[in-house]
């Protein structure tokens, strides 16, 4: 594993390493497997090989085949078995290789895991964390690029978590595994190896140069339901998550706009207090996600902001999203909500 050793940074007392997102996720899994013998990790290619994105590399060797193993190619089975293991008392962390492949497992997630606590009045629960890479920007075509988070935020009983940095990925994944409710943990695969400015024609910056690649060793957790203020500002509030945090940061910095950028980190339950406080301060709100627009998570955000901050709003809420089409292959960058689309919306808000 290519861990760049750098001197301790003052983020925590524990030694700090520079990790990319994959390494941080791997570290979180390792820490939790060490701490809790009920944590088990499984999915397609996750065992011996360590996952097609290498997120589980080395775990089988370290923790044995009883706790880290490959599965048949059956997402319904992967999630259904996780629900059963959860009922026994384990804390399963299954991987679905791409978010685009999760649909055969939806019945087990939506009808079963999400409602297990409710229907059994708390007798049975589903303390499972389903990890899955999502999002585009890697020329994956329509079956390796989707952002289906809104399908899950719409379901009562599932928490939806999306990290945007290695530091957050580790802390949030640990919190997700410790959470007693089912969590869908979407990993933005475009930023596995480095943050992304949205300028696809420029080379990828490695994580090592980003302050949030400083990941302490050992255990720490970031509470679910708490947003992160990436940057404080006055001109407008930007609500985003995952890859789009970095695109938004780059675009707004280029435009010289003093925006307050909020990384939601957890979509359900959302940190409404942080959102509300910010929009009340700035009076303007820009929502950005890569997923399709219609009934996307941005629609919920927009409704929440309107309900709670209407009298503070100085301009209509802006939504920047992917288009309402399947993710195309050759026109990937025309689809992606990049700097131009974001820039237009920022301009409209500034002029309002």
């Amino acid at each position: 594993m290519s861990v760049l050793e750098e001197g301790p940074v003052s983020l925590a007392d524990a030694p700090i390493r520079r990790l990319n997102m994959i390494e941080a996720i791997n570290d979180a899994l390792s820490v939790m497997m060490e701490r809790d013998s009920n944590v088990v990790v499984f999915g397609e290619d996750v065992g011996y090989f360590g996952g097609v994105f290498r997120a589980t590399a080395g775990l089988q060797k370290k923790f044995g085949k009883n706790r880290v193993f490959d599965t048949p190619i059956n997402e319904c089975g992967i999630i259904g078995a996780a629900v059963g293991m959860g009922a026994y008392g384990l804390r399963p962390v299954p991987e679905i290789q791409f978010a685009d492949y999760i649909y055969p497992g939806l019945d087990q997630l939506i009808s079963e895991a999400a409602r297990m606590r409710y229907r059994s009045a708390g007798e049975f629960t589903s303390p499972i964390t389903v990890r899955s890479p999502f999002g585009g920007g890697i020329f994956g075509g329509q079956t390796h690029s989707q952002s289906p988070e809104a399908l899950f935020t719409h379901v009562a009983g599932i928490k939806t978590v999306i990290p945007a940095t290695p530091y957050d990925a580790k802390g949030l994944l640990i919190a997700a595994i410790e959470d007693n409710d089912p969590v869908i943990f979407f990993e933005p695969k475009r930023i596995y190896n480095g943050p992304f400015s949205g300028n696809y024609d420029k080379p990828v910056e490695p994580w090592a140069r980003h302050p949030d690649s400083a990941v302490p060793e050992g255990y720490y957790s970031i509470p679910l339901g708490k947003a992160r203020i990436v940057r404080e500002g006055e001109a407008m509030t930007v609500l985003a998550y995952g890859t789009m945090i970095h695109v938004a940061e780059a675009v707004l910095a280029d435009m010289g706009v003093d925006a307050e950028i909020i990384d939601l980190r957890t979509l359900v339950p959302i940190d409404i207090e942080t959102v509300q406080k910010s929009v009340e301060k700035t009076g303007k709100c820009l929502i950005i996600h890569e997923a399709t627009r219609t009934c996307g998570y941005g629609a919920e955000l927009s409704a929440l902001v309107q309900e709670r901050c209407f009298y503070h709003l100085e301009a209509p809420i802006e939504r920047v999203t992917g288009f309402d089409t399947p993710y195309p292959h050759s026109l990937e960058w025309a689809y992606f909500p990049g700097p131009v689309r974001i820039g237009e919306a920022v301009d409209r808000l500034l002029k309002a």
């Binding site: 290619d45 085949k65 048949p72 190619i73 050759s330």
Partner: protein, 433 residues
């Protein structure tokens, strides 16, 4: 209410603790490979039941392996399809062309001309010989490794490459990942990136053909790994209940990315044996023996076309290359597997058979290979006139919004305007061609 619990949990005696079984492939990187544990019957020994037989009569065949080409390269036994030399040479040529095409496209991906490619090296017979045994208008529902069918049915190589390059001539308008072809004209169903979804669709297409009193049948392919998907079992159930005229192929190439066939159940039963539980006909065939593949598919196709219902065929073969250009098989399997594979190479075996018949020679074969390389090169050059991935020669932006629905609703029209406006902002000089 019972006056005591149904069973006494203390009465388990000295049973050992339960153990989880996690399958482990016989060989890992660096291991020497010895395939002597595989049960491979001699060619020509299995009986060939009547095509109209009861499904149960085929079930012993699910445990064996239909093989026609013997070690002496002669065709033997009841399954010998007795093809004429001209057909054999055509089949050999299409298989060799498929391999030449794969080699070229793989290099193209490495040269940055496209994002992704998948070879079918070593598995050419499972699709090419099958295509020869079907009628050209039988509907095929392929997975992503059946390019041999498309080539066998005469789909132009240039069109395939246009799709692989996602260029402006790509008939799928640059929308699909490379190799996810579609050609209605060639009765070749649109390939999905999601696994096994085409299986119940093939059953449904076959049911439709029966509903309409048609004569066409359907055939579908999945890998042994994706036979674990629920879709496969939905397909078997529908096909058996409605006696659908469909042929299900499971290409058992031993590896699903890094997971060996044991993770799909191969430690307990053959894949063909799934037919037994569903009460459908099942055959297990040497997938590197083009004549055996042809014979099995012909048997199943004739049966389906005569209202005999579905057949499941397991093609026992080996994935000689990585899963895709994104895969490095050296990480998880022994490099010696390929050279030790006991069923050989399907192209070499058919070639040697033709030579044994006195209908082919090494010189002819070498000349053919050169000719095919040139044919692929010419098709590649032709396709490159319309661009490679990421070099601006793509379909017009508006096409991104078309075909989401039959008619463009207002919101997609607005989004199309947006996409074109963004393009002009980024490149003021830009004009849509």
């Amino acid at each position: 209410m019972a006056d005591r619990p149904a069973s006494d949990v203390t009465a388990r005696g000295n049973l050992p603790p339960l153990e989880l079984h996690v399958p482990e492939p016989p060989f890992r990187p660096g291991d020497p490979v010895d395939y002597s544990y595989l049960e491979i019957p001699a060619a020509g020994i299995l009986p060939r039941p009547d095509e109209a037989c009861a499904a149960s009569e085929t079930h012993p065949l699910c445990q064996g392996m239909i093989r026609v080409l013997g070690d002496d390269h002669r065709a033997v036994g009841a399954w010998d399809p007795k093809l004429d030399p001209e057909t054999l040479r055509r089949m050999l040529r299409v298989m060799a062309l498929t391999r030449a095409f794969d080699d070229r496209m793989y290099r193209g991906q490495r040269q940055g001309k496209t994002s992704f490619y998948m070879k079918c090296t070593g598995e050419e017979a499972t699709s090419v010989a099958s295509a020869f045994a079907l009628a050209d208008d039988d509907m095929v529902f392929p997975s992503y490794r059946q390019q041999g069918i498309l080539i066998a049915r005469g789909y132009p190589l240039t069109e395939m490459i246009n799709q692989i390059y996602s260029n402006r001539a790509d008939k799928l308008k640059g929308r699909q990942l490379p190799i996810m072809y579609s050609s209605r004209e060639h009765s070749f169903f649109s390939i999905s990136g999601n696994l096994a979804t085409q299986y119940p669709q093939a059953a449904g297409w076959a049911m439709a053909s029966a509903i309409k009193g048609d004569t066409r049948i359907a055939a579908s392919w999945i890998g042994e790994g994706s036979s674990a998907e629920g879709d496969a079992h939905a397909a078997f159930t529908f096909a058996t209940v409605f006696n659908a005229p469909v042929v299900f192929n499971i290409v058992n190439n031993q590896w699903a990315i890094s997971s060996f066939s044991g993770f799909a159940g191969a430690e307990r039963a053959t894949f063909a044996a799934k037919a037994v539980g569903y009460g459908i006909a099942g055959l297990r065939v040497d997938g590197n023996d083009a004549l055996a593949v042809y014979a099995a598919m012909r048997w199943a196709a004739n049966r389906a076309r005569s209202n005999g219902g579905p057949t499941l065929i397991e093609h026992f073969t080996y994935r000689a290359e990585g899963h895709s250009t994104s895969d490095d098989p050296g990480q998880y399997r022994s490099a010696h597997e390929r050279e030790e594979w006991p069923l050989g190479d399907p192209i070499m075996r058919l070639k040697r058979h033709l030579i044994a018949l006195g209908e082919w020679s090494e010189d002819q074969h070498a000349a053919m290979d050169l000719e095919l390389i040139e044919q692929v090169k010419a098709a590649t050059k032709e396709a490159e006139k319309n661009g490679v991935l990421g070099h601006g020669m793509h379909h017009p932006f508006h096409t991104m919004f078309e075909d989401v629905f039959e008619e463009l609703p207002w919101h997609l029209e607005e989004q199309a305007d947006q996409a074109i406006r963004e393009r002009r902002t980024k490149w003021p000089e830009w004009k849509e061609t």
